[in-house]
Symmetry: C2
Subunit: 352 residues, 2 copies
Amino acid sequence: MSKKKDKISIKDIAAAAGTSTTTVSFILNGKADHKVSPALIEKVLKIIEEKNYRPSSLAQSLRTGKTNTIALLVEDISNPFFSGIARLIGERAAREGYQIVYSSTENDPKKTATLLDFFTEKQVDGFIISPPAGALNDIQALRKNKPVVLFDRYFPQASMSHVVVDNQMSAFHGVRHMINNKFKNVGCVTLHSDQTQMTGRLQGYNEAMEQSGLKKYTLSVDYKADEHDRIVLEIAKFYKENPGMDALFFTTNYLAILGLEAMQRSNLKVGKDFAVMCFDEHDLFRLYSPPITVISQPLAEIAENAFNVLINEMETHSSAIKRVEMIEIPATLVIRQSTSNFSNFSITGSVF
Amino acid sequence: MSKKKDKISIKDIAAAAGTSTTTVSFILNGKADHKVSPALIEKVLKIIEEKNYRPSSLAQSLRTGKTNTIALLVEDISNPFFSGIARLIGERAAREGYQIVYSSTENDPKKTATLLDFFTEKQVDGFIISPPAGALNDIQALRKNKPVVLFDRYFPQASMSHVVVDNQMSAFHGVRHMINNKFKNVGCVTLHSDQTQMTGRLQGYNEAMEQSGLKKYTLSVDYKADEHDRIVLEIAKFYKENPGMDALFFTTNYLAILGLEAMQRSNLKVGKDFAVMCFDEHDLFRLYSPPITVISQPLAEIAENAFNVLINEMETHSSAIKRVEMIEIPATLVIRQSTSNFSNFSITGSVF
DNA sequence: TGAGGTTAGTAAATCGATTTACCAAAAATA
DNA sequence: TATTTTTGGTAAATCGATTTACTAACCTCA
């Protein structure tokens, strides 16, 4: 009741200081040099301090067109890869005075289109997106009005800024590592997907196998988040139908998790029946017994670069010259026991 | 260049329809009944459609004071418990036309205070917070101006809406389960923390042990995200100094993960040296060998309730009567092999 | 016929900032 | 002293909606 005015505005400050809102605004925005006397500046600042005045960012945004908000659209915020990125981008954003709005696309282009629309209406300043296949047109349209940077995957047929890891190369070296460790029948479990990160990883596998003249075993899963059971069975069937396989490369973390479940159900063991390697890190892989070799993506660098590129796009967005930045970061192979040579075990069940 | 006007506004619509912005606004907001003739309504709607006009949400927000934005402050968005909640809340929010801004507090009250300030300035409509200890005052102050709902933990000394699980009860039954399975020397690894979820879980453990007249072993860890090594060593030391322990209860997922690392380094095995149970689910626990018993929190219900309570707070916030809703949801014990009776194994190493 | 009611609208204030264009007084210059 | 420049400042338009208060025209019915 007796509280001071609910919300205090620039007018109140101007009135209290006996000056105009123009002057207060200049002071607030550091445009006061040589326009306002030091004495008045001081006076206004003191009053602002006293009244604990904060400009309404809504009014500012309405006037300037900047909301200091960035939309982060990921496939699934509960996937540790994406939530890791989300955390890092969030921290960086906070440091720079931006807020992040997020949403999970679930890799659904329809849902994505809706989200793009929604956030555009909210006048976010820019977008960081891990795009689903099929969203190219919507994202290209968006890009005409708003800065956009893609990450994790991109559209090769379009020229848009993006930050990704070198999927093909890392997968290639990962599979080579298994081959070098005497696994000659490496299977690959991947998503049925045209997205670049998936095609890249698969291609890395293919090249490694072909280069060594080895037979390829590939299972391409049609992933749906609510059909885990079906997928586990599909993978188990893959194991069963290819008894010659002695190693597995999973192209993404959640596939590997399902693959491990499938092994459990089939009474197969990592390090005994299969060597296992996976793209993406996960607590599970680190602590599994035996620990599982992974291709680890440098989250911090991806987040950092994606943010930088976006800032850059925002700065140059209205200028005539457009610079598209395509950044490819190397991933690192983290070798653990799951891919150590155990061919002796698998035959006799005991150590030499 | 030749593109239509960059941004079209309600004035353009009014002009095109030969009417006033008032009328357009009425039509837009469904307040046109009996104020505007059906013919004009139709005409205006058609023009809106043609020009693909969308009202500026910034202008709307400035005028109405509603931003349709909810701030979600969690301890760590990359923790699967929180990212799971974030995903569910995000979905619900999108359905209701809200956007979510998030940030990780890292359980740091200073950082939290800054974030509360930041988001208040951005005029979010409400807050969903998993509060760090020490943030009580800031959050109470905030609560005077904005709807707030806490989750995962709360402040018993203050009366604020919150949604939590029944930590004490679930922990109690979890520990009882281990005791019933013949583990008599159950240790508890918990956070050094006054937060209710932690004290509740610890108390559940204490009660279960005391009720059975058993000796308690408790390790209280001072958690810092960047000191994992130190903590692993601390936990390993705890194992070593209490050779009598035959079971472990971890009060949260990341402690358990560190605890498993400590076991790995100490050459101890779940299901042989220790029964293990953990509060919170995790892919790792499900697929560990042996799979680890957990107390699983019902993410969907927590998210759903937190959102509902917040909506409720928002609706009643300006009204005279204040309703505080305190919701406690039961968690469920998911029994897996890590707590099955293996006393025979641990002695002889072989099955009866 | 004239008091009151209904219908179909609109003008203008407002939310809270930024920014352009302008001005008076003081200082500098000629 | 007269003119120009600088200093220090302000009025008012603007961003794009919502909302209050008002009105003109027509209708109704005693």
